[in-house]
Symmetry: none
Subunit: 198 residues, 2 copies
């Protein structure tokens, strides 16, 4: 992997970057590890870039970025693994960060707070937040925000019947499904994710 000298260079760059906010020049690196040739420093830096420990911005002064930093989007958390009753936490192979933006953010998305227990069967509880992506069509069986008669908005599972009518299903055995003529139902968005705070 890295040679001892390369490791010292990398450590120096890390510290410098943390303290000053910008990368060291080659001369500073050379001084930092106790050599006098910037040409040599240049070779170490090239080697580090080759090993993907850092990224270089070509033809830019102090154009060094740590590979680690590039990995971490601002909206991410470490993803430790899978937890299950009766077993130690098990790492998820090949994935160690969770990009929350991916789950939540998007151009046409908005949040709604859920009131009531009509979707309790799929784990959407009273007070939960749901993220909705605006759109006017949806696949069969998707969970949608539907507007009925331009009056009532509701979060339900959508099913198209052969008759052409539309069935809106609450995920709650106590609430019977409702069937409407297609004209009466307008889709406002599709459920993309869900969020709860404890």
């Amino acid at each position: 992997m890295l040679t001892p000298t390369q490791d010292r260079v990398l450590t120096f760059i890390r510290r410098y970057l943390k303290r000053r906010g910008y990368a060291p020049s080659l001369i500073e690196i050379a001084e930092g590890i106790g050599i006098s040739s910037k040409g040599t420093a240049h070779r170490h830096v090239q080697a580090l870039a080759e090993a993907d420990a850092i990224r270089l911005i070509a033809g830019r002064k102090r154009g060094i970025e740590l590979a680690e930093t590039a990995q971490m989007s601002k909206l991410s958390l470490p993803l430790l693994g899978i937890i299950a009753a009766g077993q130690p936490i098990e790492a998820i192979p090949g994935q160690d960060r969770l990009d929350l933006a991916d789950y939540l953010l998007g151009d046409n998305r908005y949040a709604l707070q859920v009131k009531g227990d009509s979707m309790i069967g799929i784990g959407i509880l009273d007070g939960d937040l749901v993220i909705i992506e605006r759109c006017d069509t949806a696949e069969d069986n998707a969970i949608v925000v539907a507007l009925i008669d331009d009056e009532e908005a509701t979060l339900k599972r959508l099913r198209r019947l052969k008759s052409g009518r539309i069935k809106l299903i609450a995920e709650n055995p106590d609430i019977p499904p409702m069937i409407y003529a297609a004209k009466r139902v307008r889709i406002q968005g599709v459920l993309v994710s869900q969020l709860r705070r404890y």
Copy 2:
């Protein structure tokens, strides 16, 4: 990434803005960093805008805003209101944006994927992600990641018994609660939020 000089300019702008409440002019910036040319100051400011460190309001004197303030919008979604079966979407008064960072991000937090149905009673399903905040104590009745005998990690509701022992409760009627001596149980973190993608 910022150059050393750009960094100094940014620092100066920050301080100026904090002290005076409005942004510095180009001449003031030039003086502030010890140069005499406002043309040069202008170039630095342009570079900072390019790097998204600040935002410029075109054709306005002292029209500089720090990006940090505007940055928050990247972590938020419009919060339209409350949706309930049988009613139109109702706006939530005094709140129109949802700050996701608030829900999810934090210094000592990490994510776990849930396996199994042991917490189905409170709407945590197989495959959901939970956000855990690292800590070694928890309030009674909190949902925690507990390590039993340093071997098995599990997500359960915690309850302390008068006997001093600890009861770990699965939110699933099919899974009976377990009772352990306090020594055998170590808390690794507390559930702070939960996330699901559809």
